[in-house]
Amino acid sequence: MPANQKLVIADCDIHPSPKSVEKEIFPFLEKRWRDHYQTYGMLLRQPYQAGPAYPKGQPDAARRDAYGPNGEKPGSDLEFMRKHHLDRYNIELGVLNPLKSGQGLQNPDFAAAYCKAINDWQIAEWTSKEARLKGSVCLPYEDAILSAKEIERRAGDPNFIQAFMLIRTSEPLGNRRYWPIFNACVEANLPLAVHAFGFGGTPVTGGGWPSYYTEDMVGHSQSAQSLVTSMVMEGVFERWPELKLIIVEAGFAWAPALSWRLDRIWAQNREELLHVKRPPSEYMADHIWYTTQPFEEPDRRGHLKDIFEWIGWEKLLFATDYPHWDFDDPTRIPLPRATDEQKQSFFIDNARSLYGV
């Protein structure tokens, strides 16, 4: 592209929040669940119930400059988001990934009701007002039947371009109890995005509960690797060859090394996994996309060139994580040396083609 032409951006991870649950979410909840919310609150499947399991590095996990002119919560004011983010970075497609969306609540019916309300809210407050923004179908994912119903409800609705869940599930995601989700995604022709964090009730690392937020942050790549391994080994991609999986905010440099290791061990134990017909790396290459925030930042950016090539430029999606504190600026990330076509694919075309918009 000509040097004077400003890059067009797809941001595949934007976090909207309601200014107030009572004002913006309650209109989409039945009285029963409004009462439940006020009486019992939102009980998650995790320890440390008073808040997140680990204190965030910044208040609201947000950029300090992301509060609106009247102190609005980060990500809660569309007009401010337009000026502060969408216009400023020339974002043509912004994918909304609501957190605190009812996902991971212990009460499965409340989780389903709250996710449905969040999905209605995305249309009412965001996508109907701003064509650049597209919604995510938030799933009460620990109950796959209720999740499939929510996917069916939103199928064909242009306000939504993906189904959405969190990475720390209570069992590895390839487990059969989650299969109705994959079936519904394929039926509805929606990619499944799996975002960092979650409330599986299990420790955030493979080795138990660590002491610090920093360890929580790097734990996502472990969770993502377990998730990918489980989905491949349980034969999910063999059963749903059209399923598209997006790993959001959990790193990407680990993916090539994981695929090499899986290929070798799979070959050595072939008869244990007769339903995994192809080398695991092939399923990963065919079915998985990765958003890149928080970007890998090696001392020499040249190190990333191989990583991008091993994964494939067409499988990496730019994201900022706005308004959160670990935001990536599209003009400042240490992207490896790339052709104009590769940049164009990474910043916008991959997302357009994956989402079909």
Partner: protein, 132 residues
């Protein structure tokens, strides 16, 4: 080195900061108990505005379990990724020789000090001056 008026003294009380543009350069000026420091108003990492950061002190641990707090009000933390910069030098705390932001020489003076610059002086008083 030319002197440029950046702000009125009253615009930056102690403990406060102001983002100004001087000769096309965005500069964050901090008043630390009457001392003024100027840093390029962009984090060298990804460009977060340091003028929007929280000003803190330096918490250090010489060894595990032994903490000290010093230099209150002399460190700014980037509003995005939390990188810490020394207001006196512009150097980052975690890798001071590799990661730093430009530090400007700031002084307080009156208009008579300025040789060539024409300014619209509507208020008597002292000014914060950047040496470029």
């Amino acid at each position: 080195m030319a002197k440029h008026i950046a702000a009125k003294v009253m615009d930056i009380p102690p403990g406060e900061r102001l983002s100004v543009e001087v000769q096309g350069r965005k500069i964050a000026i901090f008043n630390v108990a009457g001392e003024y420091f100027g840093l390029r108003d962009a984090c060298p990492h990804m460009g977060g505005l340091l003028s929007e950061g929280v000003v803190i002190g330096l918490v250090e641990a010489d060894r595990p379990g032994c903490y000290s707090y010093s230099r209150g009000g002399e460190i700014v933390r980037c509003p995005w990724h939390g990188w810490e910069f020394d207001l006196r030098t512009g150097k980052s705390r975690f890798d001071p020789n590799r990661w730093k932001t430009h530090s400007y020489d700031i002084e307080v003076g009156d208009v008579q000090q300025l040789e060539v610059e024409t300014v619209d002086v509507t208020t008597e008083g002292e000014f914060v001056i950047v040496n470029l």
